[in-house]
Symmetry: C2
Subunit: 274 residues, 2 copies
């Protein structure tokens, strides 16, 4: 496998760009192929079977395009489809976001109470609670399904009065009890939530540890590449290619906010999946 092939990054829409931002920050020489299934976003309310089908379609697309590794930069897709994707593409590393989140959260909590803010699909799967309790038995995981955050991120409303009010409505009650009973750690259990974390932080009262999938998943991806000797050896800057299933203009506009660098609509290709 040539080490100058791109890394494939997949999300249901724009959220995975928070992971891509960290990947590029940690590994700037790499080439990246980002696929956002914006035409079928949000994945949160869909069944695991449907999310698995969509994720495999996107993985096939990226593998056919030629990638050396796959990052499923979407919690809902990781929960539903990580194992199926690993089976389908056993010749390359496939990295999901859930395992790094669980390890980081189990290490961070002191009082054994963790908040998980995520899509409904991720919360009801119970995957985080199960894995965290293997790592740290007796931990309480309080799940808060927060679909409006996904809509805000897709719209590019990342700060201001609206995200603040939404965060307060989702989290205000959970974080208003006696301090010793509150969660002391919060998992941003959806890659769409990373750029909304200042609003989320305000609603929690500022005193807790945040687990952000973007940074830790990028680190795990780097480790997987190092292990297989697949890190790009060039010292020049790499590149990014974007493919979406709907609305390239919105992707360029909001992608610019996520990546903190200009994404032009001409850089975004409209593709069909499935």
């Amino acid at each position: 496998m040539p080490s100058d092939l791109p890394i494939g990054v997949f999300d249901s829409g724009l959220g995975g760009l928070s992971v891509l931002f960290e990947l590029q920050r940690q590994m700037p020489s790499e080439r990246y192929l980002y696929v956002g299934d914006s035409g079928r976003n949000p994945y949160g309310p869909r069944s695991a079977a449907v999310v698995t089908q969509f994720t495999l379609q996107a993985s096939d697309f990226m593998v056919k395009a030629g990638v050396k590794a796959l990052v499923i930069a979407c919690n809902t897709a990781t929960v539903a489809a990580l194992e199926a994707t690993r089976e389908a593409h056993s010749d390359i590393p496939v990295i999901g976001v859930v395992e790094p989140e669980c390890i980081a959260a189990a290490e961070a909590t002191r009082n054994g109470h963790i908040a998980l803010v995520a899509t409904k699909g991720t919360v009801i799967s119970g995957v985080h609670a199960a894995r965290i309790n293997e790592l740290r038995p007796g931990t309480k995981v309080t799940g808060i399904p927060a679909p409006i955050f996904v809509a805000l991120a897709e719209e590019g409303w990342l700060d201001g009065a609206v995200p603040d009010a939404v965060a307060e409505r989702y989290l205000g009650e959970l974080f208003s009890g006696p301090e010793e009973k509150l969660p002391d750690c919060l998992i941003l259990g959806c890659t769409h939530f990373t750029p909304l974390q200042e609003s989320i932080r305000k609603a929690t009262g500022n005193k807790i540890v945040f687990v952000d999938p973007a940074e830790i998943t990028a680190r795990q991806t780097q480790a997987a590449l190092v292990e297989r000797d697949l890190l790009c050896s060039k010292s020049s800057f790499g590149s990014m290619r974007f493919c979406v299933t709907a609305d390239p203009e919105r992707f360029a506009r909001v992608g610019t906010l996520f990546l903190k660098t200009l994404v032009s609509p001409e850089d975004v290709e409209l593709i069909a999946l499935g």
Copy 2:
């Protein structure tokens, strides 16, 4: 066609319940079959071809179940698929929401400036502007795509700080100029927006006419049934049956808010479309 058959009401999710509420208020003896495609909501960002396919799947389901009329209680679906649905089911009346909105808005405006708040698909189609300018040449129609409103309605966040802040962000600028240039009429161009109209009204400064698809579409449906002698002749109360493609529990919870009457999860059936 027996007049005691139910009326089919279709929406991409919960929004059509605002139309169902008005239908039932105006024609309480009728039976209703509501189909909400909550598993594939939102329709707003999807292509017209895909929305047409989904709408025909739902129409086929309702016609097979036996309905005497079809109400497409969704602007996005009406814009994309009204003609195709009428062709596929030419033996029964098929009523959409766009035509009643355009007639009401063209009649209501005094200064010839109308605001259209809708999904992106509806706004970029230009269907409202074209039809209104046939009815009232020279009318300016300012479209505001407002996808977050759909997410709020699906979540059941119909009042309070969040809808107020979202409405202000979408509409505050448009309604802050010199009064003579402001729209004097606003079309709620998505059936999800009806229960959010108090927040929307606040953001407009309260001085304009609202065109609400729910009430006028119910009136047009009644007229279509009268014309074909299909009105139910019973004097007793009718019934409602609900079918959704995902998450019956959320549908029951939020449906209770839309319909102002208790919807129990046992009354909501999970179905597959397509």
